[in-house]
């Protein structure tokens, strides 16, 4: 096949490209320039947006022996990922921009462009596996549980999965580094990227405050009594305990947690830990990368964070929404997060959490 290797400049995508070449594909390396001013984003050499990273990607492509180009996706990234990140927070939700980037950029803008140009698919360094089944290609967890990225790929639909190749899913990260070393790739020991690539400092709250302003608002308890002030409701997350700056103690001295964020009134509601408990979640805009989920309740697992636990649940479709009922309560779940349903190691589908109970 003729495929595009999305190369971030990191070790994973470099090895993925090399493996795709070895598998007999005709591979062309592409680095996505995601910022019109690269220095403005991450300035270290561990993210995905710097000039150094594009040089690292180019060098890896040269060592592997494949052509290499840079695609300017700065506008698409800004509109599809950065602006969405801001508007979601402004609306009191907690988005995951990496999912959004996979959904809108890597396996949409890039894949669509690649297909239009006569390529068959996109290979990336994500840790996930696909399998060919009677019902088409399905998405599965990687063998390395610490690196498994099936959660952030669960936003892909069947077409996107069919255009995707993940050569690293069967290998542990530590072995990928060894393999990169053996292949003579200088990025072998490059640190992993963490955090959000367009928030260079890692300080999400500060980054949001700079862009959305820091309008002071009340922190109230469940009765609506004001017990403090905050600087921008969107910088808080459900379940947050630290950094609330509350000076009025509770009657029994127990800690308070953020229970609710109300963007319209710019209010943060706090309360006791037990009120964080969630046993049901509903998700909108469901996406299925395998057979569609039916209204019949089915036992499975739900995961709500990139590296969170897979929780026992019963899931079903109701009124166009994906519903998961938990067997054990979960503490602190924000709307805007993605709920991903698994059956064993297979990704069933995902949806954006819009309601919890």
């Amino acid at each position: 096949m003729k495929i595009i290797a999305a190369m971030s400049g990191g070790v994973d995508s470099a090895v993925a490209a090399a493996r795709a070449v070895e598998a007999g594909h005709e591979v062309i390396g592409v680095h996505l320039a995601l910022s019109s001013n690269p220095q403005k984003y991450r300035s270290g050499a561990r993210g995905c947006c710097t000039i150094e990273d594009s040089h690292d990607a180019r060098r890896a492509a040269d060592v592997i022996g494949i052509p290499f180009y840079i695609w300017d996706m700065a506008d698409e990234f800004h509109e599809g990922v950065v602006e969405n990140f801001m508007s979601e927070y402004a609306a009191g939700r907690t988005p995951n921009p990496c999912l959004r980037c996979n959904e809108k950029i890597k396996f949409a803008a890039v894949l669509d462009r690649a297909k239009a140009m006569g390529f068959d698919g996109v290979v990336t360094g994500h840790y996930a596996r696909t399998r060919e089944t009677n019902e088409g290609r399905t998405l599965h967890r990687a063998v390395d549980p610490l690196k498994d990225q099936s959660y952030v790929l669960a936003v892909l639909n069947r077409d996107q999965i069919n255009g995707a190749i993940f050569p690293l899913g069967d290998t542990e990260k530590v072995d990928i580094r060894k393999e990169a070393e053996a292949r003579g790739l200088a990025v072998a020991q490059k640190p992993d990227s963490h955090d959000i690539c367009f928030v260079p400092s890692g300080d999400n709250a500060g980054w949001l405050r700079e862009r959305l302003g820091s309008e002071v608002g009340p922190i109230v308890d469940q009765d609506g009594t004001k017990i403090g002030e905050h600087k921008g409701a969107y910088t808080y997350t459900i379940g947050q305990r630290k950094g609330l700056g509350l000076t009025v103690p509770t009657a029994d001295g127990s800690p308070r947690f953020v229970l609710k964020i109300e963007p319209v009134s710019n209010t943060v509601v706090v309360g006791p830990r037990e009120d964080l408990a969630v046993t049901l979640m509903r998700g909108e805009k469901p996406i299925f990368c395998g057979p569609e989920v039916l209204a019949v309740p089915t036992r499975g697992f739900v995961q709500v964070r990139a590296h969170g636990a897979a929780l026992d649940c019963t899931y079903y479709m109701d009124n166009g929404q994906l519903v998961a009922e938990l067997n054990k309560p979960l503490l602190g779940l924000a709307t805007g997060q993605a709920m991903v349903i698994y059956e064993g190691d297979r990704v069933v589908g995902s949806a954006t959490i819009c309601e919890t109970a």
């Binding site: 062309i28 680095h31 320039a33 019109s36 690269p38 000039i51 594009s54 180019r58 052509p67 180009y69 840079i70 695609w71 300017d72 700065a74 698409e76 803008a109 669509d112 462009r113 297909k115 239009a116 140009m117 006569g118």
Partner: protein, 380 residues
């Protein structure tokens, strides 16, 4: 087959130049040394200088070897600015970055005022604008720098007329693209300074020259042994200098043949894609450069597709990170950034053949179709 249509970026080195370079690499001797070996290398360098001076139509003592065309441009722009004691720097808006960037640097760091000369939609410097500027502010102008021909469109600039309008104001000309391709006389043009580079004319990378009027002492960029008239220090790169002169002397570039290939290519493109636009077509142009807009495409996609068809061409401009940017040259000619970003440069040279033209034309329809599809997806 593979087709190289990027001669404006760099040219294949002529065999005679490679041989001259090899012979020189085997020789021992710093040309500044006073002993036998030194004198022998010095002779090679001075022979080369004389050959080049003859081709440029300048005095041998006016040839100052540099490490690149970029260095020569920097030395000229900054040196003439410091030399003049005046504040206004005038350059055309379509200069190469090796002229534009030192000019901007002077604005940011040395208090210069930069005036960019507009160009017509055909890519030619606006002489009326210059005339008016010189009439109004002539006494304040430190230097004027206008390229002999543009590296992206090949459009030849009216440098002789610019020199006349300039009067006593020193004029520098970046002749990197024109040298050895079209008739060019430093003396006849009446230039103060001029830049040339070896790798554009079948010579090696890493050697250029600043041609600077005799007895003019501009402050150097590089201080040291003062090897080149105290204007440029650094041990003379004898092998590259010798190869530079050998390439120029051999002059294997047949302007007529190259122009014929370019014309055949353009005719074929227009037949295949009638909506294509050849930028600067109505102006006098270098024989080898063809800059073509393919409406509804993006040049970075086209370059990738051309490359995978084994045709090497260029998109013109890219930023430090390698991101394709709309060409400042095409935008100065009045093209929108979207249109400027849908243009490719094909540049023919001494090794180009009719087979290159035929092959490129054969893959073009497929490339453009896919380029259109890719761009359509991006906009949806």
């Amino acid at each position: 087959m593979s087709v190289y249509l990027d001669h404006a970026a760099t040219t294949p080195m002529f065999d005679v130049a490679i041989e001259a370079m090899n012979a020189s690499l085997r020789k021992l001797g710093n040309p500044s040394s006073l002993h036998t070996e030194g004198r022998s290398t010095r002779k090679d360098v001075e022979d080369a200088r004389e050959k080049l001076a003859k081709a440029i139509d300048c005095l041998p003592s006016e040839v100052i070897f540099t490490g690149s065309g970029t260095e020569a441009n920097n030395a000229a722009i900054k040196g003439l600015y410091w030399h003049s004691g005046k504040k206004v720097v005038v350059v055309s808006s379509i200069e190469h970055h090796a002229v534009l960037d030192p000019a901007h640097w002077l604005v940011e760091h040395e208090g210069a005022e930069l005036i960019e000369l507009p160009v017509s939609s055909a890519g030619v410097t606006d002489l009326d604008f210059l005339q008016k500027l010189v009439a109004e502010r002539g006494t304040e102008i430190a230097l004027i720098s206008v390229m002999h021909s543009n590296n992206e469109t090949g459009v030849i600039q009216p440098v002789g007329e610019i020199v006349k309008i300039a009067g006593d104001i020193p004029v520098h000309c970046d002749a990197v693209q024109s040298f050895s391709k079209v008739p060019l006389s430093y003396k006849a043009l009446g230039l103060f300074a001029m830049t040339i580079s070896a790798h554009k004319v079948g010579g090696p990378l890493g050697i250029g020259a600043l041609i600077l009027r005799r007895a003019v002492e501009i402050p150097p960029l590089l201080h040291g042994g003062g090897q080149e008239r105290d204007i440029r220090s650094g041990t003379l790169n004898a092998p590259s200098i010798v190869a530079f002169a050998a390439a120029v002397e051999a002059h294997l570039y047949d302007s007529k043949k190259v122009a014929q290939l370019r014309d055949a290519f353009e005719a074929g493109v227009m037949k295949s894609r009638p909506d294509a636009v050849i930028n600067g077509r109505t102006s006098p142009r270098l024989p080898g450069i063809s800059n073509i807009t393919f409406p509804g495409t993006q040049s970075d996609s086209l370059l990738l597709l051309m490359d995978s068809e084994k045709v090497s061409c260029s998109t013109g401009a890219a930023c430090t990170a390698g991101v394709h940017r709309p060409s400042h040259v095409l935008m100065a000619m009045g093209l929108s950034d979207v249109v400027a970003q849908s243009s490719l440069r094909f540049s023919f040279g001494s090794t180009s053949t009719q087979a290159d033209v035929d092959y490129t034309l054969s893959v073009l329809p497929r490339v453009i179709e896919r380029g259109l599809a890719a761009h359509a997806v991006g906009r949806s």
